[in-house]
């Protein structure tokens, strides 16, 4: 892709979206530089999922623009598909394909989209399974794994497509507490490798340690954006303050 480092990885301008009469996203503007880590938080229903789903075409929007690197979504079908392919996504509910083994979950898109030969696809998949620390589970089915393991497979599956940007939508909130850490560790590792990441999460420890910027959303708008140290020390917006209070207590 013709991406230069001075171009932001994601540029969102005046994004507006409605569900019927309901205004879910209101004038959202956000610039995410290449190689940075953004954490999005906010109360339930504030539009966090909707926003990041707009970034890879899972949701349509009515107004505004989303630019990934040099590609403006929707301008050109082929380029949009390319940009989407270079954006990995990890869901709260894992969404692994239950009828395929862990390895096949990772190779399906490689074999179908770039038509990679089986051997090559499998060795690439094994490389990423190694990276998320479950190479030994390659031949099992998703249902035979714990939630934490499944979510790590989902991360490996997304990494196989060599994404330039990774989106996470509450990747740990469906997990039992003892499994949250193994997933966060993998995500922290990714961050240290320089991956551009946008994470919707309420794991404030992760945000403090890994994020460059914390974005706080409420009722469809971004009401505050700050570095983690500033955000946690002195949240400006009253709603951000009360949100942090409920999280901490």
């Amino acid at each position: 892709m013709t991406q230069t480092d001075d171009k932001p990885a994601v540029q969102i301008t005046s994004l507006n979206k409605w569900y019927g009469a309901f205004h879910v996203l209101k004038e959202v503007n956000l610039t995410i530089p290449s190689g940075s880590r953004f954490v999005i938080c906010g109360p339930s229903g504030s539009g966090k999922s909707t926003l990041i789903r707009c970034l890879n075409g899972l949701e349509a929007y009515q107004q505004g623009t989303v630019t990934l690197g040099t590609i403006r979504l929707g301008d050109n079908a082929r380029e949009t598909a390319l940009a989407r392919r270079q954006t990995g996504m990890v869901f709260q509910s894992f969404n692994l394909f239950p009828h395929l083994t862990v390895l096949s979950n990772c190779t399906l898109a490689l074999r179908r989209v770039p038509s990679m030969p089986r051997k090559e696809a499998e060795s690439l998949a094994r490389h990423f399974l190694e990276k998320v620390r479950i190479p030994e589970q390659a031949d099992k089915y998703p249902a035979q794994l714990s939630g934490g393991q499944q979510q790590r497979v989902a991360i490996a599956r997304a990494l196989c497509m060599n994404p330039r940007l990774m989106l996470f939508d509450e990747p740990t909130s469906a997990l039992d507490p003892e499994m949250v850490k193994e997933v966060l560790d993998v995500m922290t590792g990714l961050a240290h490798d320089g991956m551009t990441m946008i994470c919707v999460t309420h794991e404030m420890g992760f945000a403090r340690e890994v994020a460059d910027q914390v974005v706080f959303m409420d009722q469809g708008s971004i009401v505050e954006q700050a570095s983690p140290s500033a955000f946690f020390a002195t949240p400006n917006h009253p709603r951000a303050r009360s949100f942090l209070n409920t999280l901490l207590h």
């Binding site: 509910s93 394909f97 399906l108 898109a109 179908r112 989209v113 249902a143 997304a158």
Partner: protein, 219 residues
């Protein structure tokens, strides 16, 4: 007149001789009904005018008797110069008729797949066609194996309707014997028992196959 067991037994080879025809009709109709039913369901899901028409067609099929459909095809097609013969007409009729039922089975099987499956595949950049083939269809098959097996048995049990169109399957053979010998009870009873045995055997086999195919891979 009395039920003549010896005569009944003597009709067994002749009637059993037509079991190949019965199985052929059943197999072709199962494949045809599944293919058409899946196509109908895909059109229905795609919405629009085609989807609306298919939705009505499926409701229509399900509210009308298979026997009348067979008569319709058998008498109406030749009227428009389409002469397919009784066997082909019958198999087309059973395929069309049961496609309406199988479309409903496919619908339930697809609806049971969480939305996240297609979304995850889209997020990986997999194309629409590939999503249908590699993500949706295999999971759907798992969901529909049991009801589909039931309809396959229903199709088998509907094959004797083709005797009405003079297709020489087992019931047709039994009627041939009856009209030659003027004895109806014996050949018909024999045909009934063979069909009952066949239906029980095949539904048992389908259940075994389901367990073999779907049992081990944990869900």
């Amino acid at each position: 007149m009395q039920f003549d067991v010896a005569f009944a037994l003597s009709t067994v080879p002749t009637i059993l001789g037509a079991i190949g025809m019965t199985l052929l009709v059943a197999a072709v109709s199962c494949v045809g009904a599944s293919a058409i039913g899946f196509g109908l369901e895909l059109i229905r899901r795609s919405g629009g005018l085609g989807g609306l028409f298919v939705r009505f067609l499926i409701d229509f099929i399900r509210a009308t008797p298979v026997l009348v459909w067979l008569y319709c095809l058998y008498f109406i097609l030749p009227f428009y110069g389409i002469r397919l013969g009784a066997l082909a007409t019958g198999m087309i009729g059973l395929s069309l008729y049961y496609s309406g039922y199988l479309a409903e089975v496919f619908k339930a099987g697809i609806d049971a797949i969480p939305n996240g499956q297609a979304e995850a595949a889209r997020a990986l950049g997999i194309g629409r066609m590939d999503i249908t083939i590699f993500v949706i269809a295999p999971q759907m098959l798992r969901n529909i194996a049991a009801p589909m097996g039931n309809y396959f048995v229903s199709i088998l049990k509907a094959t004797p309707y083709l005797a009405v169109l003079a297709v020489p399957e087992m019931l047709g053979r039994a009627f041939d014997i009856a009209s030659e010998t003027y004895r109806y009870a014996e050949p018909l009873t024999v045909a009934g028992l063979i069909f009952l045995g066949l239906a029980l055997l095949i539904s048992h086999a389908i259940k075994r196959l389901e367990i073999r195919l779907l049992g081990p891979t944990a869900r």
